[in-house]
């Protein structure tokens, strides 16, 4: 069958099972947008800024495990994608970005809206292509999807010259063979390493499983739970590992790291064995490396060989897919009692509970209160929560305890403000049956206001909860604690959010006291359409525990037990 380049783009997407594309048109991609009219099976979402197309594609991918697709024109359209691609790159999210490029005979001539997009995106994509010849396009489309979703997932960009979009060639997608001699992800672990890992596990007295995003990416939730239960081993999760095991599971110690639970960080520092599964020992996870888990052996399972021994020296490194490797490992793991270990952890937990901000008896409204009320109302229902970046993000990780599998979507590695709302738009297409909540700060919200129009145009019933503390809170916290209370450019005003909601035609709700919180959440949940919630929260509250940069994981700043008491250490 003869097809034009523009048709080949859409036919390839159809063959890949793509139902929705997030994009923004412009000169160099016009033939593709023209051809879109002939492919009504694919729904195109017109975002209000290309950055949000990339975030939305990532949100779709994070929520579905399938490849998310975004599209933009050359030059400014393509450069606007960069932040969203960088986010997908750092968090291993499968995205295919399609951009128009000037005609092949103009490439390199500084033509109108020409930018070297494959050059610009080289470090923020898993791979990218510039297509100057129609003959290559079908092969490139198939490879792009294959690379994006296989092995360690990531974003792939396909930059297509405008003349290629007009040209035609024979097209038979099913007949194309992906031939990538240099790209062979390894899935099964080496038997010898599996055996050594099992020996370490069975001999350990104080083990901790470190469950990361790789568990979610490989769908190894059941295997993870089984490993913990069979071996009687506590689990802690990274920020991106939240949702790999229900937060209420008795063996789940919850999040580790800079703002992780104190007992979890103590457990890691006292462990004799770390079983790291699909996590990459990010510096927000380890704190100071020289003092990290000094007495622990390390088993590291990761699909990417370059992660093993990158930050932490591994005793047993296993390159492979988490699900496959755990399948090999499970039969060899034996139950151990470990009573002392669990008693020790329980002691740390009791100490921490006394410091919890929720234990504080006063009327002032703070974000953890809002989140625990949200959590209380949602319980085990099919709800997906998406956060933006900042204090509210960390509090969501701590206080919104999701029971839903993969129930929390957040920007981990890039920590990109402006992530929440477009990601929720993408997720809402992947999970049409979920109630979708966005938790966002007053800073991040103001990066995303234009997308409220997209939400309305697309009738997405998303609930957006703005935590309005009048500050770029996370930066303010650092200025308070690390820069001697010198506040520099962190105070931020907001427009009247009720008027914003009204202007966009969505429901607006506000809560200023603890007493109002339950009611506005309930009202938002019972409303069928999108809702903007304005939570007017206390301005200067800090996220604890906090491991200051460069400090050991067990040297945490803790919430003072009483008002005006200095920040406690350890």
């Amino acid at each position: 069958m003869k097809r034009t380049g523009a048709q080949i783009v859409w036919e390839s997407l159809l063959q890949e099972g793509v139902e929705v594309v997030f994009g923004y048109p412009g000169g160099a991609i016009m033939p593709v947008y023209d051809a879109l009219l002939d492919y009504p099976q694919i729904h195109h979402v017109l975002v209000r800024h290309e950055e949000n197309a990339a975030f939305a594609a990532g949100g779709y991918a994070r929520a579905s495990g399938r490849v998310g697709v975004c599209m933009a024109t050359s030059g400014p359209g393509a450069t606007n994608l960069v932040t969203g691609l960088a986010d997908a790159m750092l968090d291993s999210v499968p995205v295919v970005a399609i951009t128009g490029q000037v005609a092949s005979y103009l490439v390199g001539s500084d033509a109108f809206q020409e930018t070297d997009v494959t050059g610009v995106t080289l470090p923020v994509t898993k791979h990218n292509y510039l297509v100057k010849d129609i003959g290559e396009l079908p092969q490139v489309m198939k490879e792009a999807f294959y690379i994006a979703r296989s092995g360690r997932p990531g974003p792939v960009l396909v930059d297509i010259c405008k003349d290629v979009q007009f040209a035609s060639t024979d097209f038979d997608y099913a007949a194309i063979k992906v031939r990538l001699p240099g790209y062979q992800p390894r899935l099964r672990g080496a038997d010898e390493q599996i055996r050594r890992a099992a020996d370490l596990i069975n001999a350990s007295r104080r083990p901790v499983i470190l469950a990361g995003h790789g568990i979610i990416l490989s769908g190894a939730h059941e295997e993870l739970r089984e490993l913990a239960e069979r071996g009687n081993i506590p689990i802690s999760t990274t920020l991106l590992g939240i949702g790999s095991i229900p937060e209420s599971h008795p063996l789940n110690l919850r999040m580790m790291g800079m703002h992780g639970e104190a007992w979890t960080n103590h457990a890691i520092q006292s462990a004799d064995l770390l079983i790291a599964l699909g996590m990459r020992f990010d510096d927000r996870v380890t704190g100071n490396l020289a003092s990290y888990a000094k007495n622990a052996d390390v088993i590291h399972v990761d699909i990417d060989p370059a992660e093993i021994n990158k930050n932490v020296v591994t005793d047993v490194g296993i390159v492979g897919d988490a699900k496959a490797v755990l399948g090999q490992l499970l039969p060899l793991v034996e139950y151990r009692d470990r009573t002392e270990w669990f008693a020790q952890i329980a002691e740390w937990q009791a100490e921490a509970k006394a410091r919890d901000i929720l234990a504080k008896q006063d009327d002032s409204l703070h974000v953890p209160f809002v989140l625990s009320e949200l959590q209380r109302q949602i319980g085990g229902q099919q709800v997906t929560v998406v956060t933006d970046v900042g204090q509210h993000q960390m509090w969501t990780a701590q206080y919104y305890r999701t029971e839903r599998k993969n129930g929390l979507l957040t920007s981990g590695g890039l920590g990109a403000m402006g992530f929440g709302i477009p990601t929720a738009i993408g997720a809402s297409f992947a999970r049409p049956d979920d109630e979708i909540w966005v938790i966002v700060g007053d800073g991040g919200f103001q990066m995303s206001i234009p997308e409220l129009a997209t939400i309305m145009q697309e009738r997405r019933p998303i609930k957006i909860a703005v935590m309005r503390n009048g500050y770029l809170g996370m930066v303010r916290q650092w200025q308070e604690l690390i820069h001697g209370h010198r506040y520099s450019e962190v105070s931020i005003t907001s427009p009247d959010l009720m008027k914003i909601a009204a202007a966009y035609g969505m429901m607006g709700l506000r809560a200023e006291t603890k007493a109002e919180v339950a009611e506005v959440i309930a009202e938002a949940r019972s409303h069928g359409g999108p809702v903007l919630l304005d939570f007017v929260v206390e301005q200067e509250v800090n996220v604890y525990p906090m491991v200051a940069p460069g400090k050991a994981l067990n040297e945490m700043w803790r919430r003072p037990m009483r008002e005006r008491e200095p920040v406690a250490s350890a």
Binding site: R149, S150, G182, G219, H221, A296, D297, N309
Partner: protein, 201 residues
């Protein structure tokens, strides 16, 4: 538990030689160079050249293991889609060669001495003029270093070196693609041939 030592402060060089097979496609060298820059890998030398297979080029990369973790370089290179295979051959028996062109100040008097040295090093004088000569020397890096040292007293006017190329001794083959199966896998690194992780929402 020890740490990965990113910079252990040793002063003595510990060169590691990596050989990489890469697809002969536009932009591949940029990808490799961009990787080195982005990860802060310190590269002593990098050469690229054709092989017996027109679809494949071969790189020889020398890193100083005291400054840069050679295994990390290899693992990250291997992640690039266009890099077919990477091998650290430091511990293997290899033939390695560097080529230098050295322009040395030489009047008629000094020429005799220089010619003798050229003979000893099995080098060649490839250009000669009244005030200078150009010497071509090939060999392992140590030999070149040694010759440079000997020529220094005469006054080196200009020098260019190609960087190291290496080949493992014996009849093993590292410059072409092994046959592929129907999935496009060459059986090098994949155990089940699908290359796919399994996803769930």
């Amino acid at each position: 538990m020890p740490l990965v030592d990113h910079a252990n402060g040793h002063t003595k060089k510990s060169p590691h030689v990596l050989m990489a097979l890469v697809e002969n496609k536009p932009g591949v060298l940029t990808r490799v160079a961009s990787l080195f820059r982005r990860r802060g890998f310190n590269i002593e030398s990098l050469t690229v050249g054709r092989t017996d297979n027109p679809a494949i080029s071969r790189m020889t990369i020398v890193v100083d293991a005291n400054k840069t973790n050679a295994a990390m370089v290899a693992n990250n290179l291997f992640k690039l889609v266009n890099v077919i295979d990477v091998r650290d051959v430091t511990a293997e028996p290899t033939v390695s060669r560097d080529l230098a062109l050295i322009k040395v100040k030489a009047d008629a008097q000094k020429l005799f001495e220089i010619n003798q040295m050229v003979d000893i090093y099995k080098a060649k004088v490839v250009d000669i003029c009244p005030e200078s000569v150009i010497i071509e020397v090939t060999g392992p890096e140590a030999k070149i270093e040694s010759m440079i040292k000997m020529l220094e007293p005469y006054g080196i006017l200009e020098m260019v070196r190609t960087g190291l190329v290496a080949m493992v001794r014996g009849s093993g083959y590292f410059s072409g693609l092994p046959p592929m199966d129907d999935n496009g896998n060459n059986g090098h690194h994949d155990d089940n041939g699908t290359g796919m992780a399994i996803y769930e929402a």
